[in-house]
């Protein structure tokens, strides 16, 4: 019998050598005259184990990792194709506690299926949500999304069902479904993993959205930094057309939905929804003044849904298993699960999908295993470059939109970047302002000018120039940016700055002027 072996094609796994491992396995197999079926899956998200090789056995999928190409001959020698013992053996992958304790709804198939295969997708509950959606009225689909409590996973946490309802209620005409796949926050990679590891889930979610609100065209706005996701999406879209899950007769319903991927061009601000729409129209990614809301006047002036990859990727399971199933996960007003990303200086980094309510401490220590360097964790930044820095004294906070807001932090896209005690928090605050200056679209003054002034004021504080007065100036500047900016870029850059000032004031002591960073 031909043994099936999985080696991820996920970009992160490739970055640490998965392609070399796959090649070595093929070579060694043919040298030994062994037949095997090599499947290139997504990643399970346990990146400290990548490249993670899995072998299908009667006992389940057995894992070996992290595997280097040089380990491959010894794996064959140990008869890994029959689950042989080896120093890199991890046992049944589904039983690894780091994975077994997760609640994977959105990521149910990632790392399991062959992302290029519609048949594999369908065999693993794929297109069940769309099947059910097609049997319902548009109102009933929107009601299910409303009832599930799903909130926008991009960061703003706006109830998804309300957006959909608004678009549904617009007069018939050209409407659009747009997916914001401009995952620019440092510390986040869940969108990328889903698009590479289970792209059909996103495609199905967008198709359901189209059927629900009467939109016939969808666009995925993907950042240019994700060439692997671009290939995976285009491949999956072509396969979905071929199998008639996209096109003019979706699943034989007579309903139309077309989908294409458009590439961004390296502008962080295009993750802001109105800026993304400008960019999709081929213009400078400048933020629009709201109202009108995109749901009323969005892409090319038409009613448009703008949702994040995680939001749309969660829709199929909601339609498949029902709103109550999804809503039963979570706490308070944060329902369902959230794919969190452990990143930076962390021993066991990767993707942890859990219901809302898990604490930051559990994530950092139970999953993460502490810092990669083995030094104490001093600060974590949750929610990307616009998220607050959280000190160790607040690690018991629950992952929940409201609980984080309660300590002046935010959840954003669920990225958690860990820093050990060598971090210089004044430098991180300066970086936040510098990043905003580089990435500002320039439309509003508080963001465009404020960020540059912010860098200068921090330099004066650290240079020992009237430090006390300049700290007050920095606080005032942050308040102005927060209140006066058009969008979240200028409006939230103060969060990392003021949280660093508040919790790590000792780092803002005068010193020699900082060297200009890039």
């Amino acid at each position: 019998m031909t043994v099936t072996v999985y080696v991820p094609r996920d970009a992160s796994a490739l970055s640490v050598g998965a392609a070399h491992v796959a090649e070595a396995i093929s070579k060694e197999a043919s040298a030994r005259g062994v037949e095997l079926r090599l499947v290139r899956n997504g990643s399970r998200g346990a990146f400290w184990l990548e490249p993670l090789v899995e072998v299908v056995t009667p006992k389940g999928r057995l894992g070996y990792g992290p595997v280097k190409a040089a380990d491959v001959p010894s794996l064959f020698a140990a008869d890994f194709l029959n689950g042989g013992q080896h120093p890199l053996a991890l046992g049944v992958v589904d039983s690894i506690p780091w994975l077994a304790s997760q609640q994977r709804l959105t990521f149910a198939r990632v790392g399991i299926v062959d992302p290029t295969s519609v048949a594999d997708y369908v065999a693993n509950d794929g297109y069940q949500g769309l099947r059910r959606a097609l049997a319902q009225s548009p109102q009933a689909i929107v009601q299910a999304v409303l009832d599930s409590g799903l909130r926008g996973r991009g960061g703003a946490a706006f109830p998804t069902g309300i957006k959909w309802k608004t678009v549904l209620e617009q007069p018939a005409g050209q409407k659009y479904i747009t997916c914001n796949a401009d995952e620019g926050d440092s510390g986040t990679f869940s969108d990328r993993m889903l698009m590479e590891g289970d792209p059909l889930a996103l495609i199905e979610g967008m198709t359901i959205a189209g059927i629900a609100v009467g939109a016939t065209q969808g666009y995925i706005y993907l950042r240019a930094e994700y060439p692997h996701a671009y290939r995976a999406l285009n491949h999956a879209i072509a396969a979905a057309y071929q199998a008639r899950y996209l096109g003019n007769d979706v699943m034989g319903s007579g309903k139309r939905f077309d989908l294409e991927v458009r590439l961004g061009a390296g502008a962080y601000v295009c993750g802001e929804e109105t800026s993304m729409l400008e960019s999709l129209e081929g213009k400078r990614g400048e933020v629009r003044v709201r109202p009108p809301l995109p749901a009323i006047k969005g892409l090319f002036g038409q009613p448009t849904i703008v949702n994040n990859v995680m939001t749309l990727g969660s829709v199929p399971i909601i339609l498949h298993k029902g709103a109550d199933f999804y809503k039963d996960y979570g706490m308070g007003k944060s329902r369902g699960t959230l794919p969190l990303q452990l990143a930076g200086n962390i021993k066991r980094g990767g993707l942890v999908e859990r219901a809302f309510g898990v604490t930051l401490r559990e994530l950092l220590y139970d999953y993460g295993g502490g810092s990669a360097t083995g030094r104490p964790i001093r600060a974590v930044q949750v929610g990307g470059p616009l998220g607050a820095y959280i000190p160790a004294s607040q690690f018991d906070v629950a992952i929940d939109y409201e609980a984080l807001a309660g300590i002046g932090a935010l959840l954003g896209h669920g990225g958690i970047v860990v820093f050990d005690d060598t971090v210089d928090m004044a430098r991180m605050a300066r970086y936040a302002m510098e990043f905003c200056a580089v990435e500002s679209c320039g439309k509003c003054t508080p963001c465009r000018i404020g960020s540059t002034r912010g860098v200068e004021v921090i330099d004066r504080i650290l240079g020992g120039v009237e430090s006390e007065r300049n700290v007050r100036q920095l606080e005032e500047l942050c308040e102005l940016m927060l209140q006066g900016s058009l969008c979240g870029l200028g409006g939230m850059t103060p969060f990392p700055v003021t949280s660093a000032l508040k919790h790590f004031r000792e780092d803002f002591r005068p010193r020699r002027p900082l060297k200009q960073a890039s």
């Binding site: 992160s12 995952e183 510390g187 930094e225 390296g266 991180m428």
Partner: protein, 161 residues
């Protein structure tokens, strides 16, 4: 002074515009295609693209210069994009950047004298659990030490087209 374009470049740009001009909101797609074909968006492309899409030159110039991804000068043979964002910083990206600059003898946005490598900063490659990260011509690298960086350059330089 009007920037000049080689006839080959001008032909390539005209073909791209003709192929894509009827798509909704085509300008970004056109610029991506131009950069994919020529390696950069020459200043001389602005007029041709503007004419072809019925836009003003100012609009096209405005878009080219808004987006970090579009380059207006020819790149080296390989483009090394080094991540400068927080997760990579937490794992020594600043020191790695210093090493990269020393090793290549260039600053960010510059190309080595032999034309082999251009060094660019990038803000997040989505490889944040394997920091620090870099990308060379679309290939992603993670957990980069200074030695790993040097090995990466050697691999890329030795790669056959």
């Amino acid at each position: 002074m009007t920037p000049t374009l080689s006839p080959a470049h001008a032909d390539a740009i005209r073909r791209i515009v003709a192929d894509l001009k009827d798509r909704p909101g085509p300008l970004l797609e056109v610029l991506h295609a131009v950069q994919a074909a020529l390696g950069y968006v020459p200043d001389g492309a602005v007029t041709l693209v503007a004419q072809g899409l019925n836009l003003s030159r100012a609009e096209v110039h405005g878009v080219v210069t808004f987006y970090h991804y579009f380059r207006r000068t020819p790149p080296g043979k390989h483009v090394v994009s080094l991540c400068r964002a927080e997760a990579c910083q937490s794992m020594g990206a600043d020191a790695l950047a210093e090493h990269a600059k020393r090793k290549l003898g260039v600053d960010f946005h510059e190309t080595t004298a032999d034309g082999e490598f251009s060094l660019e900063p990038v803000f997040c490659l989505g490889n944040c659990a394997c920091s620090p990260a870099a990308m060379v011509d679309g290939r992603l690298y993670g957990r980069l030490s200074p030695e790993g960086f040097d090995a990466m350059l050697a691999t890329e330089q030795g790669r056959k087209e």
